[in-house]
């Protein structure tokens, strides 16, 4: 079985070429009004928009809807308790999600999975694009959190 790139790269001289990448900070960082970093990702029980996994009874039984992971320290300061319904707001929009208070995220960071159209993480995320590859900046933006009255 051949191994890719073991002998040569598909470049004129056959070598791999390293590129210098200059660090650019995220397009939007926390401030007084939007004090947390929001990052988005997956739950182990669902796949992407959940078009299949949310219709699979056993997986749906595990995680039935959107949630936001909050560090206990942040939760304490914000008066958020586990399973509270909270609103998350960014400069783009607002969603509701159940708070999951956990050490899995560090203080200052909120995590929202993107499987749930009814608690849609990408209402919040920043459409800023990477200038080179045009990848959307879905992993960092500034967000605020309030307990739903």
């Amino acid at each position: 079985m051949p191994t890719m790139f073991l002998e040569k790269f598909n470049t004129p001289d056959g070598l791999g070429h390293f590129q210098v990448v200059e660090f650019k900070p995220p397009a939007e960082l926390p401030d007084d009004e939007y004090p947390y970093v929001l990052t988005t990702g997956r739950s182990i029980f669902h796949y992407h928009t959940g078009s299949m996994t949310r219709r699979t009874e056993k997986l749906n039984d595990e995680v039935q809807g959107g949630f936001v992971e909050v560090n206990p320290e942040d939760a304490g300061k914000a008066g958020v308790r586990d399973k509270d319904l909270v609103t998350l707001t960014t400069r783009r929009g607002t969603i509701e999600a159940r708070a999951k208070v956990t050490d899995d995220v560090p203080s200052g960071l909120l995590f929202v999975p993107f499987h749930f159209a009814d608690s849609c993480a990408n209402v919040l995320t920043n459409p800023a694009l990477d200038p080179g590859c045009k990848c959307a900046e879905t992993k960092v933006c500034a967000v605020k959190m309030e307990v739903k009255a």
Binding site: S43, I44, F45, K58, D61, E62, V63, Q64
Partner: protein, 378 residues
């Protein structure tokens, strides 16, 4: 063959055996055979795999509730069938259990790696494996043989599946007949130990039909058979001591730390539950909608493995299916078998051996539980 086979005269409706999928000896799968002509496809031993025969019977063939089935079974398969029968999941009366002697199987991937890296052969060229004395012998397409010292391989973590190494049951006397080479003179004959009236009828019928010819084993043959069995049992006991020693040397705190560390790797895939031949509840209490184990949490609460263990440990037949299925390599079979042994010692119970004896935790009385000196610790 002059007379009808058990299939032809409707003594059984189907035969469950194992065959190589598309000729791949590393992919042995259980098959249901109703055409006697197809039986020959299941001839020969497939050591590099571990089909889950008991679970297959229960899951896909209604536990033989409505069909008469002849089933080939290694000792662990036969034992699991018996434990399932005690839980009313298999109808033993409809089964003819053809036991096959077994001194162990290898996992397919590890077997292939072993043949390639240690025996230095193409795994596709291997046509049979054998354990003879202290040697693991493989035979190749070109007729040649290669052998390695099994103990040396296993010291390095190669060789048989962990549960097989510590298995003391080589001859499945709990089946209706037990077939194997120990005590035979040549490769074309099989030593048949008749273990039940049903087994006796089958052998008589096979003789009458002209399918087999038999001769009475000599005293020497029986002695050889016993010696080989004894040697294999002693080797298994050594592995048990070794496998269990590391667990038992720990004090309770260390043990708790060790196992909670192991279980913290659990990804809640339910693989161990779904592979266990003893687990049978249709509505499992560990499901996310049952309100017992919190949904959406990985690793699940320790209740998850604990509940699994306590539900099956008195019937554990050391088949190793749970550990094979574990995607996180948690040595769960080692723990369940260790506990099974301890319970067996207390209640004088050996799973899978005697259909008339019920699993002790199903029949234990309050008085027994409060007896002094009874302590089951994890």
């Amino acid at each position: 063959v002059a007379g009808p086979s058990a299939l032809e005269d409707k003594r059984v409706d189907a035969v469950v055996a194992v065959k190589a999928r598309e000729g791949n000896r590393y992919d042995g799968i259980p098959v249901v055979i109703t055409d006697p002509k197809e039986l020959i496809e299941t001839a020969g031993s497939l050591h590099c795999g571990s089909p889950n025969i008991a679970r297959f019977l229960k899951e896909y063939l209604e536990g033989a509730t409505n069909t008469k089935i002849a089933v080939v079974a290694r000792p662990c398969d036969a034992k699991a069938i018996i434990e399932l029968a005690k839980r009313n999941q298999v109808k033993l009366g409809n089964l003819l259990v053809i036991g096959l002697n077994c001194t162990g199987t290898l996992s397919p991937a590890r077997a292939k790696a072993l043949f390639k890296d240690v025996f230095e052969v193409d795994p596709a060229d291997v046509v049979s494996e054998d354990i003879e004395g202290n040697e693991l012998i493989i035979r190749l397409k070109d007729g040649s043989e290669k052998k390695k010292n099994l103990a040396e391989l296993e010291e390095k973590g190669l060789g048989r599946r962990e549960n097989c190494r510590r298995c003391e049951t080589n001859i499945p006397v709990m089946a209706d007949i037990a077939c194997g080479k120990w005590g035979t003179k040549d490769k074309n004959s099989t030593f048949i130990e008749v273990c039940s009236d049903k087994g006796s009828d089958l052998v008589d019928m096979a003789i009458k039909a002209g399918a087999i010819t038999t001769e009475t084993p000599t005293a020497d043959a029986i002695e050889t058979r016993e010696k080989k069995d004894k040697a294999a049992v002693e080797l298994a006991q050594k592995w048990q001591e070794k496998d269990f020693a590391t667990l038992e040397e720990m004090d309770n705190n260390e043990r708790f730390g060790y196992w909670s560390g192991q279980f913290s790797h659990c990804v809640k895939c339910y693989g161990c539950r779904d592979a266990c031949p003893i687990c049978y509840c249709q509505e499992c209490i560990l499901e996310a909608d049952r309100g017992f184990v919190a949904p959406g949490e990985v690793p699940p609460n320790m209740l998850f493995p604990m509940m699994r263990i306590t539900h099956v440990m008195d019937s554990c037949v050391n088949c190793g299916q749970c550990q094979d299925a574990c995607t996180m390599d948690i040595p769960i079979a080692r723990l369940i078998f260790l506990l099974s042994k301890k319970i067996g010692d207390i209640f004088n119970y050996e799973p899978g051996m005697d259909i008339t004896k019920m699993p002790p935790l199903r029949t234990v009385t309050d008085q027994e539980l409060s007896q002094e000196g009874i302590e089951v610790s994890f």
